[in-house]
């Protein structure tokens, strides 16, 4: 698989690495990272920045019995623990399937998204949104609406703009809009300055999106639909 060509960029990755990004948006960024070794490295470096900033903080006084209380807690912990049967220095390497199925098990759903779906897409119920477009809603805290979106080939999402930001990562297939063409692993960033109408590629599109601040439909019919529909 070719590597992604649309990335979150420094500022969004800093929001993720520092922990300021809400859960839904973080899930989209982390899913992109599963496709993108380059952004994994960048986040590692940004976490190193977090470590250095932590080190440079002015120390605050901690009450003297805080460490004692913690050690007492650790003692209780240890006494409850079964006798050491912990693996020696070299834990066994995680078992991987002898040959990773690449074409059979499409689409590829990496962690952490796989965990949010309880393992995968099998048996999941899709909710109808408009002809050729269905979603699965995911639970990711209250700040964002996070969902898996499936579009049939050639289907267009309604033209819209954004209350705050909308992050979308492609898992399979692809889509195009005013900003470019998005393939698996690519991340698309919508904000209030962007008005777009994503159209699924002929093979269809499966993507994960997190919307903060809602969407506003801007097409002639969409303006009316805004009041009734939950896009």
């Amino acid at each position: 698989m070719s590597l992604p060509s649309h990335h979150p960029g420094d500022t969004l990755l800093i929001d993720y690495a520092g922990g300021a990004l809400c859960e839904g948006a973080s899930l989209v960024v982390a899913t992109h990272m599963a496709f993108c070794p380059c952004c994994r490295r960048m986040v590692g470096e940004m976490e190193a920045v977090g470590g250095a900033l932590l080190d440079d903080l002015e120390p605050d006084s901690v009450s003297p019995d805080c460490l004692d209380a913690l050690l007492a807690r650790i003692d209780r912990d240890e006494s409850l623990r079964p006798p050491p049967c912990r693996p020696a220095l070299q834990p066994p390497a995680p078992q991987r399937p002898a040959h990773t199925p690449t074409t059979a098990a499409r689409p590829i759903i990496p962690e952490p998204l796989r965990g949010y779906l309880g393992g995968g897409l099998e048996g999941k119920r899709w909710r109808f949104l408009q002809p050729g477009m269905a979603v699965i809603d995911l639970r990711t805290g209250s700040s964002a609406v996070t969902r898996l979106v499936r579009m049939k080939g050639g289907v267009a999402a309604p033209q819209h703009t954004h209350g705050d930001i909308e992050l979308t990562v492609v898992l399979e297939g692809g889509f195009s809009d005013e900003l470019g063409s998005f393939q698996p692993g690519d991340i698309a960033i919508g904000d209030p300055s962007i008005e777009h109408r994503p159209v699924a590629d002929p093979e269809g599109c499966l993507c994960l999106s997190a919307t903060i601040g809602g969407l506003r439909l801007t097409g002639p019919i969409g303006r009316i639909l805004n009041r009734f529909m939950d896009f």
């Binding site: 698989m1 590597l3 420094d10 500022t11 969004l12 800093i14 929001d15 520092g18 922990g19 300021a20 809400c22 859960e23 948006a25 973080s26 899930l27 982390a30 990272m33 599963a34 993108c36 070794p37 470096e45 976490e47 190193a48 920045v49 977090g50 470590g51 250095a52 900033l53 932590l54 080190d55 440079d56 903080l57 002015e58 120390p59 605050d60 006084s61 901690v62 009450s63 805080c66 460490l67 209380a69 913690l70 050690l71 807690r73 912990r86 995680p94 991987r96 990773t100 759903i109 990496p110 962690e111 952490p112 998204l113 796989r114 949010y116 990711t140 805290g141 930001i165 692993g185 904000d191």
Partner: protein, 184 residues
């Protein structure tokens, strides 16, 4: 200057390998007061901050076995634990992260041999580069890491245009990345 004191990385490895309580005490002495400042900047009261410091340090004790000094400095590793814990406790959200052992992870094309320079050395260069940042860049960077606000909110609340926030963070990150990557 005496350079015989064990590094934070040595201490953390000793906790992981031997459940060394003395080493843990020394780690606590370094990190607990800084973690308390971190949590107070994020809005914790003093008492609640100390409780959370205890929780973070308990995780440090429990997970020390998994610490790999070739991957991250001790401060980086502790920072990620503290960040995840505060997202969980203060914001009641999960922290989605990749699983490095996931077979679905798209692998790196080639791992340059010099990538794995001692995390500790690059950390020293990083801290020096942080001190050299222009104040307006350093200030924004601290807000981004310590205020639980994405950069768009920082822009709105502090009346700094979004483009300025972005370019300052990018400039800061460019410099810090150079410090981390350059093996001078």
């Amino acid at each position: 200057m005496a350079d015989t004191a064990p590094s934070l990385e040595d201490l953390l490895v000793a906790v992981g390998r031997e459940q060394d309580r003395l080493a843990f005490g020394a780690l606590f002495g370094h990190f607990a007061p800084r973690l308390k400042t971190y949590l107070r900047r994020l809005g914790c009261e003093s008492g609640a901050a100390e409780e959370l410091v205890q929780e973070v340090m308990l995780l440090v004790w429990r997970r020390a076995e998994t610490y790999d000094p070739a991957q991250a400095s001790a401060s980086t590793w502790v920072f990620t634990i503290a960040r995840n814990k505060r997202v969980d406790s203060l914001r009641r959200e999960q922290r989605p992260e990749i699983d490095p052992s996931d077979p679905a992870l798209v692998p790196e094309a080639d791992e340059p041999a010099d990538r794995r320079v001692e995390a500790r050395q690059s950390n020293d260069r990083l801290r020096a580069a942080l001190k050299d940042l222009p104040p307006e860049q350093a200030e924004l960077l601290r807000m981004a890491y310590f205020e639980d606000k994405p950069h768009s909110v920082i822009s709105a609340e502090h009346g700094i245009p979004l483009g300025t926030v972005k370019s300052r963070l990018r400039l800061a990150m460019d410099r810090l990345r150079k410090a981390l990557r350059d093996v001078a």
